[in-house]
Amino acid sequence: MRDVAVIGVGMQKWGELWEKSLRDIFVESALLAIEDAGVDKIDSMIIGCMSSGLFVGQEHIGSLLADYLGAAPVPATRVETACASGGAAFRMGFIEVASGLSDIVLVGGVEKMTDVGGDEATYALGTAADQEYEGFNGITFPGLYAMMARRHMHEHGTTREQLAMVAVKNHENGSKNPLAQFPMKITVEQVLNSVMVADPLRILDCSPITDGAAAAILCSLETARKIKSNRLIRVAGSGQATDTIAFHDRDDLTALKSTAVAANMAYRMAGKKPSDIDLAEVHDCFTIAEICITEALGFAERGRGGKFVESGDTRIGGKIPVNASGGLKSKGHPVGATGIAQIIEVVHQLREEAGERQVKGARVGLTQNMGGSGGSAVVHILEAL
């Protein structure tokens, strides 16, 4: 297997982009990534997208996006692992370059979620659960994570305030990110007084509905060295895993097993351990998710994720800053693009170009992207050379 580098990244501000189409937001980000990389061609494209079919009635976006990027006839494939589609696209691109089959691969993610109404968006996202045995009976994604939260509170004494602290921290970080959809700061009181969605989770515990795209260029480290002499970022570790599709089938309802397994794969490949990680971008689709993820990644002890966020260790300047970008919560969550945007934040941090939210001296960063209630997880570790 060859060493692989991330040589370019591109992303524009996310939000309700009603005046732009899916193809336009993707191509804008892809062109920025190509320009950042300084490459004059790509050999292949892998695109993460959860549900262009349900959100904009368009499938076959591999062809669409290669065509509109002016890159046809290169091979272009869409991959889907629900909200982890972007992470999976990155991993497929990594494998393609590492294998030697391609030298330069564009990996991207895109989701256009606001062309449909709220009900339809809820339905489309709901298809990431077991439609016949969860969705049929009336559960929603906030509902599934609410049940995870309720159980975590019951077993480990996690408090309602600790959940709120995740949202407060991520909005604080997002306020320093010019690309964030919701860059406003919020307080614990505001979270606790916001509208209830699925008890005990309130609207400010939930990530938003977002239009957005993100892209990165992967190439062999050998090629990267010919193009750039500094700021090289190596993909040190990659892992992906699955768990039961239905939340109720998990023996332990608060353990994100797919994340733990994917993380162990990535740690082993990279020769790193949790204490080697300088910052992490994780899948805070709901506040409880970040708490469970910090445990599954080995940053916090089992059951102590709530106390971990309360300690301040996950803030910028803390022991292990989590979601310096603002996370899904503040930056937005165009589901297929999220996994690539996490990579982009880590790349900016490792190149020390993250501005006000820079994690000082960051050399090793981790990304964790998750689908459904944890049925899929993808973890990557990037390292500055």
Binding site: N137, G138, T140, M148, V197, A198
Partner: protein, 129 residues
């Protein structure tokens, strides 16, 4: 939920049919072709025990469109006596009565109607036991 899907799910939703692995005893609802615990392919068809207890719960206040008229409603993960777990609505009680460890039993109820004039989907809900 489209009509063929509702029809296909009848043995599970109407009769609570589950598969019990003949080798390791794990109960699967719905039945499967291969056991995820021991890889055995031999199952005995059983019926879920209708009694169980709530492992965790929530109150859905922002429902999917098919459940608009019913919100808010309680839902939980229920572990049934003798094995098998379900995600189901918990009805016929106040929200304050729903808690972890609450004994419940399965009842046959109307779950949802497809579209404006569509097929009515029946299945299981839980009530206090």
């Amino acid at each position: 939920m489209i009509a063929p899907r509702i029809r296909r799910g009848m043995p599970q939703r109407y009769r609570y049919e589950a598969g019990k692995c003949k080798k390791c005893g794990k109960v699967f609802f719905p039945p499967r072709l291969i056991c995820s615990a021991c890889q055995s392919r031999e199952f005995e068809t059983i019926r879920l025990n209708r009694l169980g207890k709530v492992l965790t719960y929530t109150i859905i206040r922002v429902p999917p469109s098919q459940f608009k008229d019913e919100a808010p409603y309680a839902m939980g993960v229920v572990e049934l006596e003798g094995g098998g777990r379900i995600t189901a609505q918990i009805v016929d009680c106040d929200f304050d009565d729903v808690n972890i460890g609450m004994p419940v039993k399965i009842e046959f109820r109307r779950i949802q109607a497809e579209g404006e004039s569509g097929v009515i989907g029946y299945g299981y809900k839980c009530v206090p036991a």
